[in-house]
Symmetry: C2
Subunit: 335 residues, 2 copies
């Protein structure tokens, strides 16, 4: 693989200084004469020198890389989060290494974390929305900076999460405010914390309004499962309002309702969760809850960097409030 680029010593020779001075310039060390600094900079530019991250990582014990462990990076939520994390990290001078896993079981997560650790990442962000993921994290070496996103609220790990409960409560309340007597819910997979939180929020809002929650319908995030639930809802004339755990479920519900001739929002109102970019173009445009992925990414990285810099663990946590986006899929119930 041919020519290795120039090393620090080459730059030093050209600039007429020691390699250590080059290192100081690179790391913004204060005690370097301005003139020297410029000479070094010029030499760096002339040679096209690029510092060797591996050597740096070796001597400092950590690289400027953050490892991210995620499951299904094709889903809208995780994908957005990953992108936001990458952007935020890049701004701080960190690269992001993805370690996606097929399943969020103990073994897969551990393996992914191991891979990251052997590359001496500076810290790890785990998108750990299910129970089994949490277990894996407890057996991790204590000295690795770690942040979980959408993880188990009951574990003593630094955690950043969207306020699922508040979002679901807002969605449900929005439907109640429109005049509906009750709200049905199509949930996500029951082992996801996101899903559980949304169920809780929905139930809370109903109970607070003195309403006995109707039976829960179980989906799995997919439009396909939303469609199946929708077929049942469509056949129940008493149903006038549905809150789905995400927008894709809502899409499936919308289609089922459409097939059964139940008009949205005239006969039934629907609210989703996620605000995927297409939600505004569903038929009809979908009222939904928008989590702020950028804010989640920023908060996660901030928590991580604080650990990296200070060395202190600290079971900090931060919650990001989502916002309701009102569109045409909600209306008062039919008279």
């Amino acid at each position: 693989m041919a020519v290795h680029g120039p090393a620090m010593t080459d730059v030093a020779r050209l600039a007429g200084v020691s390699h250590q001075t080059v290192s100081r310039v690179l790391n913004g060390h204060p005690n370097v004469r301005e003139q020297t600094r410029l000479r070094v900079r010029a030499a760096i530019a002339e040679l096209g020198y690029r510092p060797n991250g591996a050597a740096r990582a070796l001597v400092t014990g950590r690289s400027q890389v953050i490892g991210v462990v995620a499951q299904n990076t094709t889903l809208y939520g995780p994908a957005s989060l990953l992108a936001a994390l990458e952007q935020t990290a890049a701004a701080e001078g960190f690269a992001v290494s993805v370690g996606s896993v097929r399943n969020l079981d103990h073994r897969s997560i551990s393996a992914a974390v191991e891979r990251h650790l052997s590359h001496r990442v500076a810290g790890i962000v785990v998108i750990a929305p299910v129970e089994s993921a949490g277990e894996a994290l407890e057996r991790l070496p204590q000295d690795v900076p770690l942040v979980t996103v959408d993880g188990d609220p009951s574990r003593p790990v630094p955690l950043v999460t969207v306020d699922q409960v508040a979002g679901a409560r807002a969605a449900t309340q929005h439907l109640l405010d429109a005049g509906h007597r009750t709200v049905w819910h199509v949930s996500g997979p029951s082992d996801w914390f996101d899903s559980v939180g949304r169920v809780d929020g929905w139930r809370e809002a109903l109970v607070a309004a003195g309403i006995d929650p109707p039976p829960l319908m179980h989906g799995d995030w997919s439009a396909a499962s939303g469609y199946r639930c929708g077929q049942m809802l469509a056949r129940m004339p008493e149903v006038t309002a549905v809150f789905t755990a995400n927008d894709h479920l809502a899409l499936g519900v919308l289609r089922a309702l459409h097939e059964f001739g139940r008009r949205v929002p005239d006969d039934i109102s629907v609210v989703g969760f996620d605000d995927v970019p297409e939600a505004a173009y569903f038929i009809p445009p979908l009222t939904t809850v928008r989590p702020d992925f950028d804010a989640v990414a920023r908060a996660s990285l901030q928590l991580l960097l604080r650990q990296i810099e200070s060395g202190t663990g600290g079971a900090l946590r931060q919650t990001i409030a989502p916002a309701l986006v009102a569109r045409a899929s909600v209306a008062p119930p039919p008279a």
Copy 2:
């Protein structure tokens, strides 16, 4: 940041061998006595030893990391590709580092590539669907294994790409076969090769059938732009068949048609491109073209690994044929 894990010498001491023997065991070197190998393995397990990738990268000159440069990893295509790349790479023992960029201009791409190079990645995959990206790649050091995905077919770089032309031709032909006299097209942004290829395929199919292509409508991949184009198409009674450059555009078109009371597929047939998981739950279910992202990822990685191993460049290229997925959004034209 507390305790650094055990190093190779610690393992060596425990196993009663030299660190070099440990290295040999780790790298599967043949000349190690079975008994020694087992002792070393045991010591590794007992200490929870994890090799230091940085040190290895330093001495060998490359890490087991592949850098990926992509633009908008939130879009379905790029996200799927990234996930597939990661899976494939992991199977080969490589980690994937993402370097997403806001814009695909010369500067951003170069910067992202630089970041990867300074981490001494083993190779780079650039998802480079626009013209400006190609330019940046020409000025790259020659000795870096590189593969472009969805890049400029006219450049002498290893390239893997979905056969956009064939996919678009199939979609258009499918509509013609259903009996439509012509097919309209809503394109993606005109600086994307994907977009250009799909326009070409559409045009080819029409010309081959002796049809003069109707005016092209320009979109930008988003449902919003599809909606705008759809509003125009809906008002033109002669339109009976539309092929959109992706599924999200199709979603926007579907909604516009719906609002104008034009039924799909009774009045107008629609075909998309991408087969997003939700396409089957659009109203009506969308006929679309499915690119095989896994195959693209496999091919890219294969090309990259070949370069990494052999050191030879070689302007290889590989094209992945997409498949048409027929659903309810296509029917014969109204009589």
